[in-house]
Symmetry: C2
Amino acid sequence: MTPVRVSVLEERQNADDNSSTMKDGRRSDIREAGLTLFAERGYHATSMGDIGRAIGVKGPSLYNHLKSKQEILIDIMVTTMQDLLAGFDNADSNGEPAERLREVMAEHVRYHALHPRDVRIGNREIPSLEEPARELVLNLRNEYEGKWRELIQDGLDSGDFSIPSVRVAVYAILEMGIGVAQWYRPDGSLSLDQIAALYADMAARLLSAKVTVADSTIEN
Amino acid sequence: MTPVRVSVLEERQNADDNSSTMKDGRRSDIREAGLTLFAERGYHATSMGDIGRAIGVKGPSLYNHLKSKQEILIDIMVTTMQDLLAGFDNADSNGEPAERLREVMAEHVRYHALHPRDVRIGNREIPSLEEPARELVLNLRNEYEGKWRELIQDGLDSGDFSIPSVRVAVYAILEMGIGVAQWYRPDGSLSLDQIAALYADMAARLLSAKVTVADSTIEN
DNA sequence: CCTACCGATCGGTAGG
DNA sequence: CCTACCGATCGGTAGG
């Protein structure tokens, strides 16, 4: 269920090298250290020296494997959005809207539970991205939201869902799932499958509204 | 409904000065500039020179009004949590759990819609806080969550609510409302009252679960 | 409220 | 992969 992805950094390396078999382990070590440190302290509060120290080298040595600190951030944020997009497509089926909703929500929640550092950076460090990467990430995010809007619109059209605003419903559901990254612990009393099912339930309930606002469909 | 609050910075000023009538306008100007810049770029990406420029003075001049950059952040984050706590108590009634839930959720949403910069900083810059302010803010946050847990537990005990996990329900509902700060626009097609009512509806629906997970009450 | 300035730290480069 | 070093920028202070 977890989508297969190739890190942007890894891709760059493969493009530069002829031997795609020789995988520069340092590169993924750096990514991993950046993931932890950016998530804990934030991008601007993390120095290249910090990242170097985390993998046992000095700061300047990192430049043998990348061109800038920014490159690490871009790699993390782009691959995270690509993962979420691929995860949606993987989980989506051609069944009933209600069932499709449960499946993509479960995947959304699983991804956020299993990749808390990635999504935390993804949600906090957008201002730290330089153009054009920032635009790219925002576009990927819009693409992700668009998939959700389509699914929920489908259910609205078929009569399976009943809500006054597709847009608000999408925001509410996505945000709800994002929160899992902040509290999920693998050794908690709820299993990941239980949590995913719980959130799938909650999302499903959200979409069967008894409208109390003035007009039944306000806008999109 | 919006709780009255006194900025920590203002309090400090009043404590230092004898003339509490002479309110140093610069102080709140600085707070306002920090609010905008920290929210847009992040704390570490904002310099004292940036804040000074926003109010028409040089960076060093700011130190006539405060002792450190950190002080601005602390003020913003502490008063934000105090506002949320006071907002909860103000909105809470002694009626039925379902009605109390609707009222505090509407207030939660209104606050996030009307103070997007404050809550954005509040949710992103916790790692930028130095001790002991960090502990203090986390305690206030726990206090806020605790109020929600109590309310939802009340509704569970009285049979008004039906959910497998109070804790998960609180996380889901709070996070849902926090998201409003990221998309609400005063000139949007939905009025703030409509939005608040929508989220109150969604929260109410979340709490009337038909349990699909194995055990009906998993934990707290 | 300003200019001048401090020590520290940053991202990144040179050169080996 | 390292040391040495670069120019830039930072938060904050001195002194007026």
